[in-house]
Symmetry: C2
Subunit: 149 residues, 2 copies
């Protein structure tokens, strides 16, 4: 258990680099944070501004401005919620969905390349392990439980 953190540190940093480098799609440059926002909007069901900000653990005022940029870039749409007019619902524009899909594709291509170095059994084991880990983290009381399914 001594160097457990170390292997996690290496892993998460590599994925961080991956995300960092994977932020250009169709001539549009996207910051790392913007990429995360697009991903999150894409994966939540009609999320409010607050929901996405929480999921990404970002200050709501900062997030509000980040959304403004994405709207200016025509990647995100903000629609008033008819049930509660304080709330704005976020969604991707056609262009935003395209960019998100493109980034997704780039990252999956990288993951596929990584997994191509393993046999089927190893690959299954690794994927099952990560799911196990995610479940365990979701149950943990110490940290980081609240957002994300």
């Amino acid at each position: 258990m001594e160097n457990t953190r170390e292997i996690f540190q290496i892993m998460t940093r590599r994925f961080g680099l991956l995300n960092k480098s994977c932020c250009s799609a169709g001539g549009i440059d996207i910051s790392l944070i913007q990429s995360h926002i697009l991903y999150e909007i894409d994966h939540q069901h009609k999320p409010s501004v607050q929901k996405v900000a929480e999921a990404l653990d970002t200050d709501i005022t900062t997030f509000s401005r980040q959304i403004q940029s994405l709207i200016k870039m025509n990647l995100v749409k903000k629609t008033p919620d008819p049930d509660d007019r304080r709330v704005y619902v976020l969604s991707l524009t056609t262009e935003g969905a395209f960019v998100a899909a493109s980034i997704d594709q780039q990252i999956n291509a990288y993951l596929n390349e990584i997994f191509s170095q393993m046999n089927e059994f190893e690959k299954d084991t690794v994927i099952r392990s990560i799911k196990l880990l995610n479940d365990a983290m979701a149950k943990s009381s110490v940290c980081c439980t609240s957002p994300m399914g």
Copy 2:
């Protein structure tokens, strides 16, 4: 393979949150980036300013200033390299080493809590899987190979 990215995204974001929340030690508040810098200095052998900046994929000028803050906080020391006087070698002060160890401990405590939900076999499998993953990523040509062992 469809949702492979998704499980990685969840995992890395959870660890990101963990790091974010684990950045206070002995009354000293540390930013996420500062925590990564301390970790990296601690794990490299007499690294130069440039080496650490590269490992963390940070712009060298930004990094130079981050080091300046850490020196002001008395967590990092900068020593001229006798072999090449353009170079400065970074190391942790006693206090910096203490802070780094404390953060390490907090993160390991969290990891232990997570693993306590698994049996020995699962735990071994998960750890072996992550090592496998790290090796595969290190070999990959697509992305993110250069820094880090």
